[in-house]
């Protein structure tokens, strides 16, 4: 049993190497992220595209038309709750992907769309990838395949955490530093959880 678990723990770890590193980078990026008011917005490219909103559409249908027209890579059609109008009463659509956000403002009177594309850093990109889960709803096959890998890695993380503890208990349960570290780590979590609650 021990040998089987050790093999599985090791094989699953090898299959998840890159995504575990991505999880680590995402966590470090989150840790060193400045406060929202101090964050510098990434540089953005602005372009305009000619587009006329077909008559008689509601906002959701218009947003779907804009999505289909722009052909933005990786972006999924927006759900109804993400569709809003800005202070000028123009339809403002934010298409989020791991590569950053693309903001489209539909200037109906001018018959065009103002499209703003933000460029993310590599760390932000990896952070975005770590959050791209199977419910992202992206129509893009690359993102979909990534979400399968992400799903696999989520269950792997749970499995490796539990099997790791088993491997310790089955091999060196009396190893004193391990006992203390385990108690200290679990204790810290439980204590913080209770205090926050």
């Amino acid at each position: 049993m021990y040998s089987l678990f050790r093999k599985v723990h090791m094989y699953v770890g090898l299959l998840n190497l890159s995504i575990l590193l991505i999880f680590g980078v995402a966590g470090l990026q989150a840790t060193f992220e400045p406060a929202p008011e101090q964050r510098k917005r990434p540089d953005a490219d602005v372009e305009f595209r000619d587009f006329t909103v077909p008559a008689g559409l509601d906002d959701k249908a218009a947003a779907d038309q804009v999505h289909a027209f722009l052909h933005l890579p990786l972006a999924a059609p927006l759900p109804k709750y993400a569709i809003r109008r800005d202070a000028n009463n123009d339809l403002a659509l934010n298409f989020y992907t791991a590569n950053g956000v693309r903001r489209a403002v539909v200037l109906e009177k001018e018959h065009r769309i103002r499209l703003e594309t933000e460029h993310t850093t590599l760390a932000s990109y990896l952070n975005g990838l770590h959050a791209t889960t199977i419910n992202s709803g992206s129509p893009d096959w690359r993102v979909r395949w990534w979400t399968y890998y992400n799903e696999f890695s989520i269950w792997s993380l749970i499995g490796m955490s539990i099997s790791g503890v088993y491997l310790w208990l089955a091999s060196r349960p009396r190893y004193s530093p391990a006992r203390w570290t385990f108690v200290f780590g679990c204790g810290a979590f439980i204590f913080l959880y209770a205090l926050t609650r």
Binding site: S18, L21, F23, A30, F32, L129, R142, I158, G185, T196
Partner: protein, 190 residues
Amino acid sequence: MYKWLRNTHLLLGLFSFLFLLMYGVSSVQMAHNTWFDLKPAVAESQTTLAAGLDNPRVIARQLMDRGEVRGELQQIRTNRPNYSFRVVRPGTVHEVDYSAQTGAAKIRTSVAGLMGMLNRIHHVNGVWHEYTLTNVWGVFVGIISMMLVIMSLTGIYLWFKIHTERVIGVILLALSLGYSLTLIVLIRTA
């Protein structure tokens, strides 16, 4: 060297066990949100402060001193002479409406269940918060992330030292890196 790295891998893994489990379980919840009911428990209460207060920070401080709310002040909305704001900590949100005319403060408190709480802890980021406990969680995010990176790298070394596992390990690693790195590049360049 092998023994030292094996112990490092073990100790880091044991220290981070519950944290990693929390990240794993809350990720399942986020990826499959229909599986879980995240409806928080909501309670409403009312208290009376001095009338005429015109600073949300002072209002929040008075409520905190009375033990009515606990957390970080957010989303201040002013509609003179009334103020609305939230006081938030992971898993708990207090929505406060204060009337400067009467001094009445209505407090609507939403408390998440276990899964909701794990979700909120998962999303803690940075050490810039006004609420100390949130910063402590933020510090642990950094520590656990660093540990995860070290565990991944030491894990590779430990595998490589087991000669009988090298062939199958190389195949799995090549498959995994081939799949993931290809997608990382394809998505980045899309």
